[in-house]
Every structure is written in C-alpha cells, then in structure tokens.
Symmetry: C2
Amino acid sequence: MGEIIAIMNQKGGCGKTTTVVNLSASLAVMGKAVLVVDMDPQANATTSFGIDKTNLKHTVYSAISGEVSIKKATFPTFIQNLFIVPSNISLSGVGVELSKLDNYHLVLKELLKDIKDLFDYILIDLPPSLGIITINGLVASDSVIIPIQAEYYALEGVADLINTIDLVESRLKSPTPIKGILLTLYDTRTRLSRDVYRELKKYFEGKERVFKTVIPRNIRLAEAPSHGKPCIVYDRESNGTVAYLKLAQEILDMEN
Amino acid sequence: MGEIIAIMNQKGGCGKTTTVVNLSASLAVMGKAVLVVDMDPQANATTSFGIDKTNLKHTVYSAISGEVSIKKATFPTFIQNLFIVPSNISLSGVGVELSKLDNYHLVLKELLKDIKDLFDYILIDLPPSLGIITINGLVASDSVIIPIQAEYYALEGVADLINTIDLVESRLKSPTPIKGILLTLYDTRTRLSRDVYRELKKYFEGKERVFKTVIPRNIRLAEAPSHGKPCIVYDRESNGTVAYLKLAQEILDMEN
Ligand SMILES: Nc1ncnc2c1ncn2[C@@H]1O[C@H](COP(=O)(O)OP(=O)(O)OP(=O)(O)O)[C@@H](O)[C@H]1O
Ligand SMILES: Nc1ncnc2c1ncn2[C@@H]1O[C@H](COP(=O)(O)OP(=O)(O)OP(=O)(O)O)[C@@H](O)[C@H]1O
Ligand SMILES: [Mg+2]
Ligand SMILES: [Mg+2]
C-alpha cells in the first residue's frame, strides 16, 4: 500500500523540486517502487529526468481533464523502479477548469486511487502557490514534507504556511499530517543559515518533526538538472547526493 | 507622471522581492519619489522595510476589496521619498474574489490611477505564479522587469514565461513591454552561472534588453531583510548594494 507524500511550500525556490527528484531517486536506488507526480506547470521535475516536456503524448493534465486514465499518463524513467506522471505548461489552465467542479479538491485523490497500490512511495511536486493545484496535492496525500530554505524570508513565511495547511484540513475535512520539516540550502559558512536553523528548531519543538538530515547548499545539486539526471546519477559522491540518501534512510527508518 | 514597473517571474526564489526592495531604495536615495506595491500575500517586501505585517490598519487588500482608497493604504517607510502599500496573508483570498468580476484584470490598474502622478516610480512585487494577482500586476504596469536567477531551472522556464506575457497582452489587449531581463544570484565562481548567462544573452539577442548590470550572489542581500532594512541601509559598501545602485542608474539613463 503506497504512501503518497506531497512536497509543499508556497515560498518559491526553497528546494521542492530538488527534493522530489533526489529523494525519489534515492528511494528507487534503495529498491522501493516510486512514482513522481509533477503537479507544477513549470515541469522542472519532468525535465530533471531528461524528459522533453514539449514532446509528451500524455501529461498529468491529460489525466486530470479526463482525456486518459492516470495509468496512460504514467511513464518509466531511465532509473529502475522510478516512474513519473510528467507535466508541462498545459497544466497552468487547470486551476480555472477545476474551480467549476463541486469536488474540485478531490480530483487528484480520486485519480491516484487507481495506481496507489503499484508503488511504495508516490511523491508529488507542487508549484509555489496556495491555489487549487496545491490544495489537490495536499488532499491527495497521506503526509506532507515541507522544505524550508535556511534564509530569512523562508523563516518568516512559516507561521502563514502552517495556518494554511490547518485551514485546508478543517475546511475540506482532509487531514494531511506533516511528515517532517526539511532544512534545505543550508550553507555551513554563513551565520544566517545557523540562525535560521536554530529558530526553526525552536519554533517546531514539541510540535512537528524537523528531519535530522539537513540538505547543504551544494552546486552539484543545481548542475544535475541541466544534464537531465538526479544527482545520484550525475555525481554519486557529492554532498548533495549523500544528504538525500540520508533523508531517504531517515524516512524508511520512520516506517518501523 | 510616474512609471509603473511590475517585477515578475513565476519561477520561485529568483530575487523578485530582493529586486523590488533594493531597487526602490536605490531610486529613493537618488532623489526619486518611489512607491512599492506589495502584491504578494507572503508580504516579504513589507517586512523588508521593518513593517509588522500582522499589525497593519490597511493593506493592499483593503484597497482592492474597496474598503478604503489606495491613498489610505499608502504608508511612508523610514527611507525618505519611499512609500509602500503593504500586504499580508489577507491578500491570498483575493484571486477567488476578483475572478467573479467581469473586469477582474483591471482592478489594480484602476486603483493606481489615483496616485500614479504622485510618484516617479511605482514598483509592484508579485508572487511566484501566473494567477489573477500577477495578471493584475502586469495589466497595471507600463513595463515589466524579469529577474532570472543564474541557474538551470530558471533558464528552462524562460520560453514559457515570455509566451505567458504575450498571451496576457493579446487576450487582455494590454501590452506590457519588457523593460529588461535582470540576471540575479550570479555566482562568479561557478561554471553554471556563466553558462546560464551566456545562454540568456543568446536567447534574448535582438529581442529584449538584458540589463548590463548583473546582481551577484551576496550574503548581505539575504541578511538585510532580517534587520528590516534594504541593503543600502544595512551595509552600504556591500557588492549587493553597489549592484542595485548600478541597476537604478542604468534605468535612469534609459529615460534620457
Ligand atoms: N541544496 C541545494 N544546493 C544547491 N542548489 C540547490 C539546492 N536545492 C535547490 N537548489 C537550486 O536552487 C534553485 C531552487 O530550487 P528548486 O527549483 O528545487 O526549488 P522549488 O521550491 O522547487 O522552486 P519553485 O518554487 O519555483 O518550484 C534551483 O535552481 C535548484 O537547482
Ligand atoms: N543577490 C542575492 N544574493 C544573495 N541572496 C539573495 C540574492 N537575491 C535574493 N537572495 C535571497 O534568495 C532568496 C530568494 O529571493 P527572493 O525572496 O527575493 O525571491 P522571490 O523571487 O521574491 O521569491 P518568491 O518567488 O518566493 O516571491 C531570499 O532568501 C533572498 O534573501
Ligand atoms: Mg519547483
Ligand atoms: Mg518574493
């Protein structure tokens, strides 16, 4: 029975896509069957696996709009055990279309029912907003991972972010527990990173789990997507690769 | 007659807010009368001037919803010549409210008519999305500055971004010329930054202006917001401050 995890934060550029791509690849390399669902019209997760977003027969939008089943929009990647439901700019119009439905927030949840049992983990990449796409992602998920970059604006947005998740839960009667807070883009050399990390731990103490694994700022993580590969394939030894393998292990250890 | 400039890019974390805050402060220090309109519910621009977003009498939302005039929602900052229409999380519901109006895309444009002549420059900070808030920002503006970070995902999104701006122009019959492409978070030490810069210049050659000024990655720019000050106040000598002063000068030189 697969676990569906949304990777979410309305703050832009905090490492959502980088986490989806590298965590999914790490879990796959550890032998888990993994599906990535790219729910961002920017389709950064899609291209990170070397897929041409302008030349797709079916995307997540084809499934959401009812043109094809989600199975038809599921493709293998070049990594064993790792599959993807790709995206492209066609998804950007879906917010307006879905808003006309009564159960607009259940569409993705219903779609994923058909394939949930085929995978151990399903990771959903979301855009930096709180619109209908993100709400669909939250409602469809069993849990959510919140990447927070080690910078001031990101820290400032935390209270609003937690309120928003609570609001979605109470209004739509669909709880999505936080699996963990993930500190990303941590630069060991700067006082700013250390200050933000200390504040975050204080803020969440006794409330939510903050992953022990911290993702360092590592240029190889930023270079890998331009080669269409997750970092574990691009540079097996880099700090970025090691950090995401550790995160995958920390998540697997939580299961037991 | 003030020029209204939108700072826009749906890619998250590319330096939109950092550009609005530091470019506006630079123009103000050079003697221009400047207004910042914070159209992001995250309200990062608001707090960057030391304003408490949880304790605001009026915000941009109060003006958009018709509760008060935009003048009543305009406040001075601690920097001479620099004013702000602040924001907070109350703005996040505006998309749904505006979508019910026929002329949903003209609301901000109409509001700013009342105060446009009081300022030399009005800079609009926008969220990382292509929703109704961003469309209002584009339609209300005389021109748009597009910050693009020197990283791969940002480069990948450029074609979709330009298509989207063109689409807004043709559908809503409201042209917003691109004032310039601004390279941000440029790290002189990495090959990635140099590669992205070269690709961007090639992509826009003969089509759009790429500002000569490049904004370097500079930790002082990321630290300044935690002190509630633009970088020119926080650290006058830093590379970040100097770069935004140069950008302001390059924009003023374009006028003549
Ligand atoms: N740990 C890291 N070290 C170095 N660069 C990173 C790291 N994590 C992410 N990046 C880079 O930072 C930028 C932002 O990351 P990413 O695009 O994954 O964030 P995001 O939250 O998905 O952004 P968006 O809000 O636009 O969806 C990208 O250019 C990415 O390559
Ligand atoms: N030139 C720079 N040097 C160092 N840090 C920077 C620079 N520009 C921006 N930053 C930092 O990078 C992060 C992203 O920048 P910023 O928040 O301004 O981007 P944005 O496009 O407004 O993000 P969002 O899409 O969430 O609105 C912030 O933490 C900011 O402090
Ligand atoms: Mg992303
Ligand atoms: Mg911003």
